[in-house]
């Protein structure tokens, strides 16, 4: 199959999943995709509701996403899932196994699942994940779900960019404390206490609500939903909680605000990525090399190097 973007866009418009998958790869790989293709895709998006799922490893996020997707499918909604897993910082490789828990969705035509590795991109991950969500949105999915392990800031940025963020915890002791340390408490619109049939679930819920009550009161108090995802228990309660959050966002005109924020964030991120790419041309890299060479005698400093690079960049702009 050709990688010609125009052809891909045509196929995409006729509903080709293959074209959708390929376009996602182009985004992931920073491939050449003309801005008019991106424009065309972006203009089609904006309809889907975006839900982020995060939480510590082993909390049962994939199983929960699997169940909630089935519930949406029963309502006749189509779903796109973006499952993000970390890239190994040592090898650059990744093992993406989230689909295993969602295998009964594979052959459902109304569901599209894509596994993404973080690829250690500097702050660009969130933008990329959003772009992938935009494409799934443009493809016509009603619901977009992000799933990431809540370990690093870039993963948290992804879910935070969702309309509703669900933080999944399990009753294991100290889980909520860990979650607080990891910054999960601040981003949650809804908490799920998964595996709630385990010992200690009620105690964990009490601990969690105690922590929540210590915070300043806010308009939206995140509810805590009890689930046993493997037994399909609590899924309807979670659906209701998500709907309630959606209504809350609607009533307070926060949905538009979230979308504006996402737009601003994307623009910021794109500008800085593109600027960086233009900035580091052949000459700029040479300037840096020269400064490194002078480092032994302390004939340079990072400040001086940076200023010289910026001067060079301004000059080259003026020449254009």
């Amino acid at each position: 199959m050709t990688l010609n973007p125009e052809k891909l866009l045509n196929d995409f418009e006729t509903g080709s999943k293959r074209a959708l998958a390929r376009l996602i790869s182009l985004i992931e790989n920073n491939g050449k995709l003309a801005d008019d293709v991106r424009d065309a895709l972006y203009q089609k998006s904006g309809r889907a509701y975006r839900i982020g799922f995060t939480g510590p490893p082993g909390a049962g996020k994939s199983t929960l996403v699997n169940q909630i997707t089935k519930a949406y499918r029963q309502q006749g909604k189509t779903v796109g899932i973006i499952a993000v897993d970390p890239t190994s910082p040592f090898t650059g490789g990744a093992l993406l196994g989230d689909r295993v828990r969602m295998n009964d969705l594979t052959l459902d035509d109304g569901v599209f699942i894509r596994s993404m590795a973080t690829r250690g991109s500097l702050g660009g991950l969130s933008t990329k994940a959003q772009e992938v969500a935009d494409i799934l949105d443009a493809f016509g999915k009603d619901i977009i779900i992000y799933e990431t392990v809540g370990v690093g800031q870039s993963e948290l940025d992804i879910v935070e960019a969702a309309d509703t963020t669900v933080v999944v915890l399990v009753p294991e002791s100290g889980d909520s404390v860990q979650a607080m340390k990891a910054g999960l408490m601040e981003i949650a619109d809804i908490f799920v206490m998964n595996k709630a049939d385990r010992e200690g679930a009620d105690r964990a819920i009490r601990e969690l609500s105690a922590i929540l009550h210590l915070r300043e009161a806010r308009d939206w108090q995140p509810p805590i939903v009890k689930c046993v995802a493997v037994k399909q228990e609590g899924i309807n309660d979670l659906l209701t909680a998500i709907d309630r959050h959606y209504c809350y966002l609607q009533e307070h005109h926060l949905l538009e605000e979230k979308r504006r924020e996402r737009f601003v964030q994307s623009v910021h991120s794109l500008v800085s990525t593109r600027l960086k790419n233009e900035f580091w041309d052949e000459r700029a890299r040479r300037i840096l090399e020269q400064h490194i060479a002078g480092l032994d005698q302390r004939k340079t400093s990072p400040y001086r190097a940076a200023q010289q690079l910026i001067d060079h960049f301004k000059q080259s702009l003026a020449k254009q």
Partner: protein, 553 residues
């Protein structure tokens, strides 16, 4: 100066001499499980070993030296070759051939659809019917499988786990039809579901209801089929999945204790059921490590059964085990060499005091064994039994500083694993958190890396290769006619049987499962009504649900 001080001093002197007068080849000296091995073992290495407490005498607690007083002087081990392929009729012919050639017990290999509780006409069964073993869909097939084989004289081992209760029901029904009451049936059901989650991955239901099914069979057999070995607690598959010897030992025994706990919880007395538990181990290439593993296994089991569970019956203390040589140790390259590997592994099993043994065939890395290859494997056992003099005295390696040290180390390492498993809250919670799976995956990767770095030499694979080698051995082919015939057979059965009765018995099974009753009697009724495996399993799935594992690497 005490003896120990003297040994230690002498050892230090010798070490100094050795280092000046000799030099080791480069490379690591380690077991197949990557355990480093010392230069030399002497009295100083066994100071913590007490002869009476740790070694003792054959036939007596702690059974380190074997569970019988006379071991193979009394009776040789059972030479039990696992067999099964194609239709029930094909396997019935192979069974008769094996019995005529001196085999003393039967061991049934089922095909994957049967192992996974699916009928031959299930879409997922396509391509797998009768390939890895015999295809059994209903009692009708089981009747053909044992046609002309008297079930009161021959003992049968059935390698089946998730649907084990159903196969037992079939066997009981065949016995009944032959006029053999269930009290007289002899055999073994593998029925070890825990190792499926840990290693072999042929699970259907979630762990808890699966465990309940196991307890149902134990309870039923304790009351009605007293000569039946209810669970064959298996390390074989754990090892094949890549574990080390210690992991095989520890995880298998931990599984065994988990079954004991569950049966006690169900209200059974330990001495009622524990004597009918048996074990199934792997015998891998590292001769001494394997022998130490078997010896340690007996000792640990005996101690836990007596001290921890308070078992009074000596038979509850005795760990009886079947051994199979390691399939994963065989090579596709120069397959004839596999005869030699298997012979050493079989010898380790015999020196380790096994009660029965399966020797793998030279062609098993490529396909199921041909008749010729299976015969050589059986002959290997006969040569060990009759020609090389290892059966003359029980546990001939006892007292070897090296073997006693290894045995004790194995035991201690296993105890450390028991503690870890305990910290997870037991075997099932540890399974759910991927503990065993992760340990095994790590060990498998390490073994492979050692081969690729040539720290471990495998003849024909990473050394002594024959680049232009052509495979010269015949390969057993399963005709795809088998699948067509079996599919037609099960379809015909579904038409001609009394389907009202099928529905009724399945409904009662569903109710019994939902009410948490012992399902064995209901499965026997279903079997009599010619319900298929798939129908029974699907009925149980409605109550129990299914299981998907979280993959760990």
């Amino acid at each position: 100066m005490t003896d120990f001080e003297k040994y230690k001093k002498e050892r230090e002197r010798w070490e100094a001499e050795r280092q000046t007068k000799s030099k080791d080849r480069p490379g690591k000296f380690m077991t197949t499980s990557s355990v480093p091995i010392d230069h030399l073992y002497g009295p100083e290495n066994v100071q913590d070993i007490d002869f009476f407490k740790d070694v003792g005498y054959p036939g007596e607690y702690p059974y380190t030296r074997g569970i019988h007083y006379n071991m193979y002087r009394g009776r040789l081990w059972t030479m039990r070759q696992f067999a099964g392929f194609g239709t029930a009729h094909d396997t019935n012919q192979r069974f008769k051939y094996l019995l005529e050639n001196g085999q003393t017990g039967l061991s049934v290999a089922f095909d994957l659809p049967t192992l996974m509780g699916r009928d031959s006409d299930d879409p997922l069964s396509h391509g797998e019917v009768g390939v890895c073993g015999v295809a059994i869909d209903s009692l009708a097939d089981m009747e053909v499988l044992f046609d002309g084989i008297p079930l009161d004289k021959v003992s049968t081992s059935m390698t089946i786990n998730s649907p084990a209760a159903i196969l037992l029901a079939f066997y009981i029904c065949v016995g009944e039809k032959q006029g053999v009451p269930q009290e007289k049936l002899m055999g073994t059901l593998q029925n070890d579901i825990l190792k499926e989650y840990i290693a072999q991955k042929e699970f259907i239901f979630p762990p808890e209801p699966s465990m309940k099914l196991v307890v149902d069979t134990v309870e039923y057999c304790t009351r009605h089929v007293p000569k039946w070995n209810t669970i064959s607690i298996s390390g074989y598959h754990i090892r094949e999945a890549g574990s080390t010897a210690v992991q095989e030992l520890a995880f298998t025994l931990a599984d065994g204790f988990a079954y004991v706990d569950s049966c006690i919880e169900a209200g059974l007395d330990v001495d009622e059921f524990a004597p009918r538990f048996s074990f199934f181990f792997n015998s891998h290439l590292d001769f001494f490590e394997e022998i130490a593993k078997f010896r340690a296994a007996r000792k640990i089991w005996a101690r836990h059964m007596r001290e921890r569970y308070g078992a009074k019956n000596e038979r509850s203390w005795k760990l009886r085990f079947h051994t199979q040589t390691a399939g994963c140790s065989l090579t596709g390259q120069q397959p004839e060499n596999n005869i030699v590997r298997t012979a050493f592994e079989a010898l380790a099993a015999v020196l380790g005091g096994t009660q029965s043994l399966h020797t793998n065939s030279l062609d098993e890395t490529w396909a199921l064994p041909t008749e010729k290859a299976a015969k050589i494997a059986l002959r290997t056992q006969q040569i060990i039994a009759h020609e090389i003099g290892v059966i003359n005295t029980p546990d001939p390696l006892a007292g070897s500083y090296f073997v006693e040290r290894l045995t004790k180390d194995m035991e201690q390492a296993a105890e450390e694993y028991f503690q870890k498993i305990n910290d997870f809250g037991g075997v099932i919670p540890a399974i759910k958190q991927g503990f065993f799976q992760r340990e095994i995956a790590k060990a498998a990767r390490q073994y492979q890396d050692e081969i690729e770095r040539k720290e471990r030499i495998i003849v024909g694979v990473n050394a002594y290769r024959e680049p232009d080698e052509k495979l010269e051995i015949p390969i057993l082919r399963i005709d795809d006619k088998v699948e067509k015939a079996q599919v037609a057979r099960v379809k015909a059965l579904k038409e001609k049987r009394d389907n009202t009765k099928v529905r009724q018995t399945l409904d009662r099974l569903r109710e019994a499962a939902a009410a948490n009753e012992n399902v064995m009697p209901y499965l026997i009724d279903c079997a009599h009504a010619y319900c298929t495996i798939g129908e029974m399993i699907n009925t149980l799935k409605e109550v129990y649900g299914t299981w998907t594992e979280e993959p760990v690497f």
